[in-house]
Symmetry: C2
């Protein structure tokens, strides 16, 4: 059965009203704004009331570098939450929201898999409570107001060649990466080069995920740098006097969304910035709310630990005011063999040599997470092709690094398949932690970048290319170098070369552009050829999708 | 007080749970999908159950040609519904959904005004239940799939120069009217000229408003012509094999939305196609549902009666299977004086000569509506500057045309201010009607166009310009000439010249382009310089908008 079939069968039989899910976690119906019977936003009155409560423990789920073999980080996150509840722990899950672009393209759903899913699956994967759409509207309203400012006299003296605010759509649309707008003569606007990002790559998504309330949201929005004047001075949203309008469009999107897993574990699904161009974590408000609603909050960060977890620990943690108590790294035997050089088609064959070789990728991520002073557990997400010898080898190699590696079969069995993992995590939560930040945020941009590249990626050095050298000077001139850096890098490798699998060393990372994100509060360093607008594949998932007269969806994986 | 202040004050005190509103009209909580306590979608189970019931009476509210003086068609529609309920009639209102573009630009809210408003006002004007956003996503997903088809080998042999499917945003953004996409080399897509419409101008919006169920929605989507092959053959969405994916994105948007007026009259707000480029009426499903929920359904059509009402009667009625029982034409003394040549600044001064002259506009619309064989009532939407002499003159002139003109003060007094109007409408509902369609749909495109121009607009003839002549031949070749025509024309005049006020005669309408909308089921004839993507004004309404920490909005008029 496909994920959506499993979801639909169980949704029909077993979903509980969202008010009942909320009650488990100490919330009442008055704390919710319902979107149908099974989805709700948690209102600010509830969030403010919960602030009185003590925080629960925090588990961060991350993974090795993603491969085409699939790792199943969201699936493990959901299954771990369900397993903890089976062990009578009050666990609450906090995930990212799916983006419609990848859903239509390659990925299908993004709500876990098999019997470890959040539901209602189709709703969450499509329009959900409208957060992505509100963001898209806000990004493009801001862009339209910028171009209208140019058209109506350009009082702020904005240089049309130096506008860095891009439009966005929650769609994989390569044809919009580089466009020319404003054609057709003087009444149709000012011609200039522009481009669209996918909505989740926009700074407003990062802001939504870092803002702690509407006042903070407005402060961040007003600080967004949309471009530069002809005199090279930064121009902000605040100067355009449209902070209120943009914040107004996001006032509901800022509230965390509550749903449930197939086993009725409460799940907050809110915010989903890309983990390459942005910081890749769900919202601060959702994580904080999960920490208050349960004794244990389980959250995830995007892509591998080099991107998602690094940014969680270096960008999100200072804002969140809470460090993880345990980090779970998800790996699969298949993906490690792929890292060891095996072709995708041959991954079902036992290959201890390749596993041994590809283990270097997991080992590096373990060392990286241990470096932060937080207890680590490895979750081996089980596939039917895994052999006993392979699993044993993997567990022994982890044990040598002082880490317990536990087989989890949550896709096939839900929470029951994650009981061993949950037990190991509970033990880890009792271990002492001693959080060590990676860098001093007062260091300059160059040295922060170098620290990430050498200490986390395992590389040799950072080289700034032409454009980035000037931008570095501009950042210093504007006094922005105290901000954390957010590296936009391929997710497929620890280096900036997507083909360098395993644990490459001695490489140089080339920074080609530095983009100030003053609202989000970080400087993005673009490396390699990271795309901020994906494309659709030859056979997009959309070709298989359908809906019946009764509203039942198929083809969503 | 501004509209939003009146709305907010009354919302806080007096809004009823949407389940209570639904109950008045024979629906239960199980018939609804709630979006918070005050908004809901009516589900298909309820719609199908209601089909058993007999239809109520149908009132269509339309108006003279819009002027900068303001007419208040939505306000009168809401006030009339409230007044009918005060007279113990079971009335249900069916309106169009606001578009965010004009809200941010000039117009502010679009949910009635003063004490004749639908609420929650800010929610309805912003994201509401996400219908506009779902449409935007569907329009752009379809566009991305077309460009991906070009990129991935172009199996259907689509000519990139002859793609007529445009992208869309629910934003006033003139800089996107004419763009070039796909720049940057072979991996970034096929370069071609393109453009964005505002979402409400997209064919998918028209389809959403004409579809009777998901099966019909899919049939219409599959028939959309997105462009032509190099051999000039039409290419449809069905041939791209993405009908299911696009319909899936619209499955919830297809359900009518239920809200309430400040006086708790049930209001279905659903769909809002432009009345120039499209047919300008709310959805068939909402109108049908309103006809079943109450004994009297009151609905409106966009812009003046030459655009909205003509299209209601010639395009929507054949699909709806029900003709209006009374037509209300909204006029104001101010707007008629403007039509009589008075400048905007001077409209507060009594001017019987200008009123007499400008009355020609109302007279023409009255004659047009009477031509369809439906009883007509004129609603004079009261302004404080109206003098007794002006109102009396207007009423006498209407009486000479056999039409009752009733002063309504619903902005200031809500339903109470519309009691006389409601009484006149009830009398009209008892008069005999004898519906006469304007044209035989089997006539060819040219003669249907000519009939509208001569019999409704009062013009002399239609002239097809260069491009349109060839398109006319293509339409005949493809066998599409049995479809109704939807004229895209300025709303400000009965002619295609926005400056020709009153009731111009002897003019020629120039058709510059014919666009087949096979999914909507009509041929659009573009005249004059109708824009399908508006621009923002020098001082957009957005500049005054704000939201407080408590989520309270200001600046939305």
């Amino acid at each position: 059965m496909s994920d959506i079939q499993i979801a639909q069968e169980n949704e029909a039989k077993e979903m509980q009203p969202i008010t009942a899910i909320a009650e488990q976690a100490g919330l009442t119906a008055a704390d919710l704004e319902q979107y149908g019977p099974y989805k709700a936003k948690v209102n600010f009155a509830a969030i403010n009331r919960l602030k009185e409560k003590e925080d629960g423990k925090l588990i961060l789920v991350t993974s090795i570098n993603p491969t085409p073999a699939g790792e199943g980080k969201s699936t493990v996150t959901v299954g771990l939450g369900d397993a903890l509840r089976q062990l009578d722990q009050s666990a609450v899950i906090a995930l990212r929201e799916p983006s419609l672009g990848p859903v239509m393209g390659m990925k299908g759903g993004a709500t876990g898999g098999g019997y470890a899913q959040v539901v209602p699956m189709a709703d969450i994967n499509l329009h959900f409570t409208g957060d992505m759409h509100a963001l898209t509207a806000a990004v493009n309203t801001l862009a339209a107001l910028i171009d209208n400012h140019l058209q109506q006299g350009n009082a702020l003296n904005i240089d049309p060649r130096r506008i860095i605010w891009k439009r966005a759509l929650d769609i994989n649309d390569r044809a919009l990466r580089q466009v020319v707008i404003g054609l057709g003569g003087p009444v149709q606007g000012m011609p200039r080069q522009d481009g669209f990002d996918i909505t989740v790559a926009s700074e407003l998504m990062a802001i939504l995920c870092l803002a702690t309330d509407i006042t903070d949201l407005k402060r961040r929005i007003s600080q967004i740098v949309i471009g530069y004047t002809y005199d090279r001075q930064p121009v902000t949203v605040g100067e355009l006097e449209i902070t209120g309008a943009i914040a107004m469009l996001l006032k509901d999107a800022l509230k965390p969304n509550l749903v449930q897993t197939l086993e009725h574990t409460p799940a907050l699904i809110h915010g989903g910035p890309f983990a390459n161009i942005a910081h890749g974590c769900n919202s601060i408000l959702a994580t904080q709310t999960a920490l208050k609603m349960g004794d244990i909050a389980i959250t995830e960060a995007g892509f591998g630990a080099d991107l998602g977890a690094e940014k969680f620990l270096d960008i999100k943690v200072p804002q969140l005011g809470k460090t993880p108590d345990t980090i779970v790294i998800v790996a699969t035997v298949r993906a490690l063999k792929y890292n060891g050089g095996v072709a995708l088609a041959d991954l079902t064959t036992e290959n201890l040599g390749a596993l041994d070789k590809g283990f270097s990728n997991l080992a590096k991520h373990i060392a990286n997470m241990q470096r932060y002073g937080i207890p680590v557990v490895v979750a081996i997400n089980e596939f039917t092709s895994d052999t006993e010898a392979e699993v044993t080898m993997l567990q022994e190699k982890c044990a040598k690094l002082g880490v317990k590696a536990v087989l989890a079969s949550v896709w096939a069995h839900g929470g029951k398949g994650g009981l061993d993992l949950a037990q190991a995590v509970l033990e880890a939560l009792d271990q002492p932690k001693n959080f060590q930040p990676l860098y001093d945020s007062n260091a300059d941009i160059q040295s922060k970048l170098t620290t990430i590249v050498t200490d986390i990626y395992g590389g040799k050095e950072v080289v700034f290319e032409g454009k980035a050298i000037n931008q570095l000077k501009e950042i210093e001139k504007n006094g922005w170098d105290h901000l954390p850096v957010c590296i936009a890098k391929t997710q497929y490798s620890l280096s900036d070369d997507p083909k360098a699998l395993g644990a490459p060393t001695d490489f140089t990372v080339h920074v080609r552009e530095l983009i100030p994100k003053l609202g989000a509060g970080f400087i993005v360093a673009m490396t390699g050829t990271v795309l901020t607008m994906p494309g659709l594949p030859k056979k997009p998932a959309a070709l298989n999708m359908d809906v019946t007269e009764d509203g039942l969806i198929s083809g969503l994986f």
